[in-house]
Symmetry: D2
Subunit: 344 residues, 4 copies
């Protein structure tokens, strides 16, 4: 915490999913924020510690009872709202909250793609708040810190895009790889599929299993492209996600054709220089494992050239740096707190 003596009051809307749970656990130990409102769109808003018994007795002074999402009530008690809601609900509530002076960190995909037409194609429903889109800042903190600081609306990045965008931005900006040659072979834990039970997410189906899905057609592909084309317009890529038989974590093995004469040390030094001083990025000589980053807000990066290919490995926790941890990192920046507060 910096000079702030009084914790900043925040609301969490949609706390009954996995990003909500992760956010509450992180906020509960954050000295700079206090939870003043839990808003649920369920018919009967639950007590959050009945929904997640692991929160019993761990929320400090916060009222564990969820309430309906009432914009006026939220604006009276909170200066910031974290939205862990479905995309459509996020587009409904965000303008109401902003209009009442409540800043928003939105963890859905609602404000990630700048082009509402593209959004409509990718998410298969129209964008209902194109005005909000214009105000939204893409909250990949390390790349857009200055914009986040002044933002009223932060679009928290997707879990997959967080890892590869951080890995590839320095390499593209330094022209160390051919921008049209990128293949992102990604793998994620099952929590990325949300909390709703599905046929393919039961333990019997997902456990001891592994598979590719959404080959080349995953919704995170345009999100990744949007940011990387801001770095290098000729960027093109194929994104292939896989489902891992674990709860959490994302590891991406990224392939590209290196630019002429580029060697491993060129890739590594580009990453090291780009992220020198970053608290949450660790550039390392060996390839990371998921265990190295689970339940932390860290991104571990490694890169090399082998057999004529650049191979970059990036690891994050999909629920922490890939969602709720980065949401808090953004909130810390928005309110002038120490960026790492509550995230160690």
């Amino acid at each position: 915490m910096t000079a702030h003596d009084v914790p900043i009051p925040v609301a969490v809307l949609g706390p009954t999913g996995y990003t909500g749970l992760e956010l509450l656990e992180l906020l509960a130990r954050h000295p700079g924020f206090r939870i003043t409102y839990l808003g649920s769109s369920r018919q009967s808003p639950p007590r959050i510690d009945a929904e997640f018994p692991r929160l019993r007795g761990r929320l400090g002074d916060a009222d564990p009872q969820c309430r309906p999402i009432d914009h006026d009530a939220i604006s009276r008690t909170a200066r910031l709202a974290f939205l862990c809601l479905p995309h459509e609900a996020a587009m409904t509530h965000t303008p109401e909250l902003l209009a009442r002076g409540v800043r928003v960190v939105d963890l859905s995909a609602a404000y990630r793609l700048r082009d509402p037409e593209l959004y409509a194609r990718v998410y298969a429903h129209p964008h209902t708040d194109p005005q909000g889109l214009k105000r939204a800042v893409y909250g990949l903190t390390e790349l857009f810190r200055a914009e986040v600081a002044g933002a009223s609306l932060v679009a928290n990045p997707g879990c997959y895009p967080t890892a590869c965008t951080l890995a590839l931005t320095p390499l593209l900006s330094q022209r160390l790889i051919e921008p049209g040659s990128i293949i992102i072979n990604a793998a994620s834990g099952v929590s990325g599929a949300g909390r709703e039970p599905k046929a393919h997410t039961t333990l019997v189906e997902a456990g001891e299993n592994y598979s590719a899905y959404g080959i080349g057609v995953h919704r995170h592909q345009p999100e990744i492209l949007q940011t990387l084309r801001g770095v290098e317009p000729k960027t093109n890529l194929l994104f292939v996600p896989h489902l891992l038989p674990i709860e959490r974590g994302i590891l991406e093995t990224i392939y590209a054709v290196p630019a002429p004469d580029v060697e491993s040390r060129d890739l590594m030094s580009a990453l090291s220089r780009a992220y020198a001083g970053e608290r949450f990025i660790s550039v390392r000589e060996d390839a990371p494992t998921l265990r190295d980053v689970q339940r932390t807000n860290m991104v571990h990066l490694n890169a090399r050239v082998v057999s004529g290919r650049a191979v970059i490995v990036a690891a994050v926790d999909n629920l922490t740096k890939g969602a709720s941890g980065q949401a808090i990192q953004n909130a810390n920046v928005m309110f002038g707190l120490n960026e790492a507060e509550g995230l160690l």
Copy 2:
């Protein structure tokens, strides 16, 4: 196979659950049976190898297309039907099949409890085929082999009851333990909860987790009691199941007060004598693990007296000996095949 040169034609009704899948995999390599009918009660009966891609190309001559459950059609093509259906459906179809001369091995609980009143209390719906109940033989093969051989309707035992009933029967019949002192601490893999996705069976909830459920009120408790009271009428017990974060397997740690002067070797020799010559029961000096029995039709048993308590450990695979393997074992007995045929 014995003298049977022609495989016996069988139907599998309800093959789209986990006991159905297990049964099909076992039947596919069984030289004495051939699958002639797959019957599904779904609106649009699926191809079974689309439902379970692991069956692609592995069903031999069997037609992978499921059909509606048509009793006449079944009776024209099959001499035996395995029912992997819900309890209510089993009670509907069984009398129709029997009336048409098709013998039945029912894997549901419909015909396990002899008393229809008890059934109605335990399963919370009335028993609609009390006539069938009278014909049904409880198919714990090692204990009721002779009855099974002549049965037209076999009630295949529950997964939990299979392990502990085999473990306790010799000890009770030899009066080696106090019949009112039994505690069965059981643990099962998630496949025991069926294939339908549920909030508590997703990988994120069930994985890396473990919990007790149905403490003292599980539906298998009366089934266990029914058989054991046939051995020793004063039997009383507490059954406490737990959910393991794995696909399959049941391990039961059973506690009882030993009769005076009973030692470990008394327990062990009672088990060894009772099951000498049994192909599927292994009495061993050390406690079994689940890995020792998974995907086999075996029951592993160990017993000892320690700190004044008898401790018996029994392990089975809930889908094999605890369901589909035992169903085939019973079918082998019913048709005079080698009891172990197709089960090695």
Copy 3:
């Protein structure tokens, strides 16, 4: 933190095991302590963030380089040492540290059993510091808080004893259960077996598996008895641990004969009253799961009478409340900090 403005300097000896890793992660975010010394008995003390890459960049100002265990050097820089060492090493270093004015929280079993003869039998080597034994306070914080506060040497309890001792103490002291009838059916994650690879702890052997071990002869049985006989001298029990196919967590299903006329509500109200006001104990109406307590310092308790038996379920994380979390809880008490500091 209370009035302490300056964090208290602490040493961690033996940080390369799992309790060491857990301790470092907890200390890294604890505002009241700072790590000033990492001591390893390895020939070449490693950098701890090379040993555990997940610690990269997450230890704040602490030097990640482990050093030899030098008592003088430790005493110059630390007021408290956490010992995550083998039992024998703990008995060697503890008197040296105490003699130099460094308080000790010992996470080994060296000082848990008060009787050195019993220790020698249970751990199969002589106790080399019987003087230390006399000073040691058993650090089950909720039960011995006052003694812990003034202690120079705290014996941090075993993981299994923590759960059942807290569960049974109020029931025995209120005479709600028969003291000679207790059976503790316990199950633990694999991290309880330590970090050294063993034949039975590989993923292929331990994964998708489950088994009983050390039936009635586990070393934690005398530790549990020692504390419970302090409550009720007639206590007797059988302790049967099982190995779960997961990383962490302990769930104990405890059986006992209830005293005459005792009902579920009597058990529950005894627990609730005993632990009213405790930050880390949650008495709940339904049975806990491991997921409810993993990576928290909480103990979840539930009790009921069913089928004539008392059944109590207790859940903890073996590395947190069962080891390093409780170590910090004890250290908080020893130094007059908020007992929950750094543990939320």
Copy 4:
């Protein structure tokens, strides 16, 4: 079985590892082979059902007692030996067995690479049986069936090479992909690392984890290249294996640049035509999961063109089709049995 009325006697040397266990389970239910010799190089050869209690009572007439590896004794009792030994031991025993008229299926890497110089570089020890190398047939059954039939020595392929070689051979031979553009992103279960406990294979380290290893330098890369360059000499590739937190299964996601105008249906029809009539290869419209092939001898293949890339997904079980299943498939071919005997 074909006309063979008497099962062929076989030896298994090195049955105490995971390929040995898998082989024994498959042989136990194979009507065409019977196990007459278990040979172990351990100082004290164990009973195999003590080493693997899941084999208790499941080996039929076979003697479960392992014996020293005695070439004369083996030759008196067995016509074929399966070698599940380390590479060096395989090179020692193979010529002795061949000299005595015992045919060999070697599951080690000893005879996979035809060039002894290359072998020495890749495996870091000299090849001690270059004569044997000349006789050895590479046992990727579907591609080299005719040679296998007449072979006295079959080098059973590596687990990783089995999947991708079958996937890529038709595409390269039909010139549907650019031969220098291949990237094989592979993932395997932990059993691929052998049975010996290692720091990175414990449940705590490997469980809930995932990582890349041996990036571009894995020993299977030259094995894959050797076969594919036999199809298309210009083939070049990068092979990147990953470790999955599961027991078994290999899934490979393969990327290549398609030849001009090549579409998904071209890839699919090339695969379908190449493997029409193959019992163990299933070409399918959707991408396979590991669960679809685990504990089967099947290879599931899917291919498509998306975002300008060919993406091929291949799945096998590393212990079955990737090792012991294929070993039996080869033995079936060598002895003129039905190729699928014992493998359904």
